[in-house]
Amino acid sequence: MAVLSKPLPALYVVYILRRLNQHNGVAKGGAVRTSRNSLRPWEMVAVVSGFPGKVAALKFEWALANPHLSLHIPSSARITVATQKKRNGHPKRPPYSLTSVISNLHLLLRVPSFLRWPLKLHFFNRDLHKAWLKWCSTANEPLRDTMPIVTDFEPDAESRVIENVEPVAEGEEAATPPPSAWGIHALPLDYAPMREVVTKTESIFSFEKEGSCVVCGEHLPTGEGVYAACTNTGCEGVGHVSCWSQHLLGPGETDEVLPISGHCPKCNGPLTWGEMMTEMTLRMHGGKEVEKLLKKPRKKRAPTKAAKAAAK
């Protein structure tokens, strides 16, 4: 049994900030393709976040970069079909276009392989978001309604023309980053948003206040199981992970394994399975991170760091 020794990453997209800086020449290295000054600066227009780990992120990225090949896309639903072959005989991906990327992104978020992942879609560009909405309206199948889609446009609301689209797992566009943090630079890079929850659960489990499972009612012996806790503030509902999943899946999804979201049986507050798991894995495997996270409020560094990172 392979055990994940790491907690779910706070924001797997983090590395993209470095890559974006490379594209813009701020950081050393980077792709030659994007090194032309005439194309700079590059702006991040959209991001898919929430990947539970490297494996998941790479799978999604590859699928998005190879929509003509990915086996995650059922043949009946495949949008991008290779019509040419590369020299090595492999099918050649048709050239990117804004529509193709959006449509494939839309498709991949609907594909069973990724459907139940705790993904989150960020849009930082109005034009792109318009195109997205347009596609969503035309798509024959909607995204799951529980898919969080976040928009964080440039404050000034200056309309910019999309010059070029070269999305990877996350799209990058040319634009000038404004001084104030917005877009990708405003994304939280660490577990800071989880601080409150972590603090709560920390107190619960450190003081062995698990009590009984919110779902099945069984007593929860400390340290003898994998327990998840409600992430809503003030709710100290704790239960078996499996119980939580059964509860959140509900009667309609008995065949499924992974819940997506639901409501806490105790506080009836909204729950997101990704968030719960992040907290749980952080509690189980992220001793250092938790310690770090809990220390920060005292020093009040965490927000400043995030701001600095964003300012970059």
């Binding site: 392979a2 994940l4 780990g53 998941a56 992942w117 003898e224 065949d255 394994v257 990704g274 798991m277």
Partner: protein, 841 residues
Amino acid sequence: MASADVFQSPPAKPPPAQQHYSMISSSPELPSLAEIAQRHSKRPAPLRSGSNAAPIPATALTSFTSAKDVLRQAPDVDIEAERSPSPKPKPKAVRKRATKAQPKPEATGAPEPQEPIVIPSSSPTDKPVRKSRSKKAESAQSTISSRVTKSTTTSKSKAKKKTETVSRHFETTKEKGKAVASIENPQHIKSDIRETDTTHAPDADETEVSAPLEAVMPRRRDWTPPPADGLENSELLSSSSKAPVSKEVFSNLCQDFARPGEKEPIAKPSAEIAEFMKKRKLNDLPANEQASRSTETSPTKPAAAKKKKKIRTITELATAPYQLPELPDVLLAPGNAETLLKHFDFDGAVKAQADHQRVVMDYQETKSKGKKKKAPAKPRKKKAGTAEDPILLSPSSAMKQASNVDFLFGTSSQLQTDEPAEVIRDLQAAIRASNQVNDDEYEDDKSGLWHKGARDIDGSLLEFRIVDSSDGVEEATRGSPSPVPEASPTDNDFPDISKIILQSQAGSSNLPTTQTTQSQQTIPSSRTTVPSSDKSAMVPPAPPPSRPATAAKTKRPDFTILTDAQLSRKISTYGFKPMKRRSAMIKLLEQCWDEQQPANSAPAGPATSNSSSIVSNAAATTAPASAPPPIATSPAKKPRGRPKKETAATASTAPVKPASKAPESPKRSPGRPRKNSGSQSPAKSKVTTPVRRGKAASKVTKIEIADSDDEEVLSVSDGRSSPDPVFSSPPPLDLSISEDADMSLNLSPTDQESSSFTFITKAVTSAPRSTDPQNPSWHELMLMYTPVVLEDLAAWLNAGELTRVGYDAEVSPAQVKQWCESKSVICLWRANGKGGSRKRY
């Protein structure tokens, strides 16, 4: 000295006989001459300068130094030579010139410097310069030589009239030759020439470099001229004859020869060695000439290229016949051949006269020479049955022959001590004879393409076949004549492909007759090992005698005798995929045979014949084989061979499949159900065939065993159409037997998946939750978005979890992956694409 050289090159065309003599005599004595030449070191400089002055002569010089190289390089240089000569010889457009004019160009081309050299060596009296040179050679030179030189001198003056750059040596040679002929009898001339050659040849060497000449001679001796080359060249020459080119080339060639360097070495060989030299020279001379033509500057390089062209590898040998058309043009210009002939052979001399009139004559001569050279190799080949090209076999035919080879296994001591091969063969033949009862001769007779043709046109052949399959009596009647042909499948096989193609075109009616004739012809050869030896490279003699099994009856052929290649081929004819295990293949074939026999009787009779020539051939070959046909181990056993593979391939799927693994279904069986399940599985009534591949459905005509789509089936393209009727009956049978179990799997892939998925889900979710946070259950891991290792999960599921849930089968990791992806569970393989295993996630 120089005069002698001149003799050799120039005389070649007008008085070929004389030239030949001169050539022969000169070659053997070269080294001594070279030494002499060294003494006359003075000469070389003027010669070189003279040659350099004139463009052609310059080439001659280079060729001289490179003459050795040139000899070997000949093929490569040829191209250049042909090109280069064309512009130069323009004035010599007429062939008549070539014969006669050649001397002219030489004369014209030969500037003064060369002449003086020659003259002095030969006769001191003629000119002062000559005298100085002759001093060295005086002892060696005879009075005859002096005469010759005189004649040359006179001729030179005449030759000078000609404007071309040809070396003087040529002029001298021609003149000399003429003079000699007129003055003396041929015998005298020969002797004289020898003397002169010996003396003169060194001069040429001296001019260029004595060392190379010496080195060359030993090389030639060592170098056993590959007969193939000679043949090729001769053939090439024969094949391509270009009159204009030949003229030009010829003239150029003569000039080149005229060059002191080249001619001298050529002349050196003694008349005694003439025969050997002829062959060698034929090869070499053209090369020299070409080299000289090509360019003075780079004689050595072209030589290397020429060397490369020579056939040294089997592949080259094999491809050579096909390359012939190209090579002849490039390698040997008609002119070259002519020159060669003239120089070397008496025959050439005689022919040369005719050649002057026509280049065609030259070709014939070259051919004859080539035959002489190759004589040992070719005639045998022709005997073998294939006409000219028989040597080269197509891959398939080569495989056939190779498969027919008999092997004796044993320690070296055993093999040595054992009785002679004949005894062994006799023993085997006797054994086979005893076993022959079972064998099927008739199939062989009707085999493959022949039968097709027969079928198409006449019903008679069809009747034949039917009779054969059904009745042993008729077979017996034929048996007396037929057995032999059948017995020597190798012989038949050999010609088969090419002949079949040709014959098929010719017509079906001819086919039967041709077969019989061929078989009869081949038979003697097969029996006598000698003819086989001709082919020996490709096919060992042993098989033919052994195979002549007379008894060909409906009984099953002994597949154990077949080689793996044959077995696989036969299997492919039945529409099955190739199998790795020999035993499995044999069993399968036996089963197919058993099933086919009844089927053949009614409809298949003709079809079978058409269906696969290969099969019939293979059967024929196999049937005679000594081993008693192992009665088919139950067909059921056959599947086992494959099933093992399948099982190995997919452990998880194993439980379902094990019941009956169809011989047909290959390793992929586990994968197929999925594919099929989606689209085809339910639709197809026939259990095995349709399911296997989508292709099968598309290709209605194909054998039901669409699985056989593999290469082998395709290879039997002809068989395709025919096999359908024949095999239609048998394949379903086989499939039904073996694949029934598979079918169940295939038919309900989707259903299976869905059911298995629900069970997997149930198994995962119903598993007891772990009490150790550090060791969560699979369900908890999935809930935690932890990547799941498919192999581990599959093993866990198969370890009893599925049975606990009520699912009485195993799941493959691939299926587990599908399940994971359907559930958005993050999964990965323990083994990455590169074969390594993951340690971290």
